[in-house]
């Protein structure tokens, strides 16, 4: 009895905890292959109203219009790139959550690797500079007086 209750409770909580979907049932295409392509495309398109959400996540009316538009283009026979091109022709690269690799975005893409390479180079140079230095090589040798005192200390230790 309690096992059934527990299972029911778990099932209920799973239902409650599942994320709220922005995609409304009336938007979903009957063709599952097209619908899954639409979902994938929507996840890469920025909602221009909320800006940090994709149109797949967003409840904004414009996001809904764009989701419907994406599905219309797919149904009309556009390939994925064609749909993306259709939307970017209107809203620019800004709608793409994955910025394209081109001249204006070069710094964006290259910078992390350039900084890593610079850091690596700096580290390598630093380590190479240290390699020639054996421990104590840059310290003056003991003077006669120091040697005698050291010997005395070591002999005292033997006793």
């Amino acid at each position: 009895m309690s096992a059934i209750r527990l299972a029911a409770a778990l099932a209920l909580s799973a239902l409650v905890l599942s994320p709220a979907l922005a995609v409304q049932p009336d938007e979903v295409l009957s063709n599952p292959a097209l619908e899954s392509r639409a979902r994938d495309i929507s996840k890469d398109l920025r909602c221009l109203v909320c800006q940090n959400q994709s149109i797949d996540d967003s409840n904004a009316p414009l996001a809904r219009d764009l989701r419907v538009l994406v599905r219309e283009r797919l149904t009309a026979g556009d390939d994925d790139d064609g749909v993306m091109a259709y939307v970017t022709a209107r809203y620019g690269d800004y709608v793409l959550l994955r910025p394209p690799f081109k001249a204006t975005t070069l710094v964006l893409w290259i910078a992390p690797f350039a900084i890593l390479a610079l850091g690596g180079l700096a580290t390598a140079l630093f380590l190479r500079g240290r390699r020639g230095v054996t421990a104590g090589a840059d310290t003056a040798p003991l003077s006669e007086d120091e040697r005698r005192r050291l010997d005395a200390l070591l002999r005292k230790d033997d006793v």
């Binding site: 800006q51 414009l62 219009d65 764009l66 970017t88 209107r90 809203y91 620019g92």
Partner: protein, 177 residues
């Protein structure tokens, strides 16, 4: 020389600080339009009921025109309306409008209440033409040159400052061209 090397992280920090300081002053809602210097998208919108003229791409050549995207439910549109009225009536700029996702009776009564400075209005009930224009929030305004190309876009309500400093000089320049 080696001493200067120790300054490097500090200088980098200053640089990053300056970049952030300037970056955060920019308005993240101000997205550059993909349509600047491109011809207006092909469209043909019907008029409001009881009116003769809607708005189509063919209507946007010949004269420099401001196209204003508005809706009766949009509060900033009401705020910018006196500014647009002045631009059309006193400063002599042709202003046409796209009525964005609005009920016709609401739009008509809004215009009756607030005045109608528009030379013509096209009704974009489903917002599809607005998407073709790259509109992502009303109000938006576009300045169209005589060849029917989009030359300037302003997102959000037009202010007297935007009119004085950006729209009017651009209109003057485009009328010469």
């Amino acid at each position: 020389m080696r001493r200067l090397l120790y300054l490097l992280p500090f200088l980098l920090f200053i640089g990053v600080g300056v970049a952030f300081y300037l970056g955060f002053q920019r308005d993240p809602r101000d997205i550059p339009s993909a349509l600047i210097d491109k011809p207006v998208p092909a469209f043909d919108l019907p008029p409001l009921p009881g009116r003769a003229e809607g708005l189509s791409s063919a209507r946007l050549t010949g004269d420099v025109t401001l196209v204003n995207v508005f809706a009766s439910w949009c509060i900033p549109c009401k705020a910018e309306h006196p500014v647009i009225t002045r631009l059309a009536r006193e400063q002599g700029v042709t202003v046409r409008a796209i009525n964005h996702k609005d009920k016709a009776e609401d739009a008509l009564s809004w215009l009756a209440r607030n005045g109608d400075p528009y030379a013509s209005i096209g009704v974009d009930l489903d917002g599809r033409t607005s998407i073709d224009w790259g509109v992502y929030g009303v109000p938006e305004s576009f300045l169209i040159d005589r060849q029917g190309r989009i030359r300037f876009k302003h997102v959000g309500p037009l202010t007297p400052q935007v009119i004085e400093e950006q729209i009017l000089p651009m209109v003057k320049h485009l009328r010469q061209g």
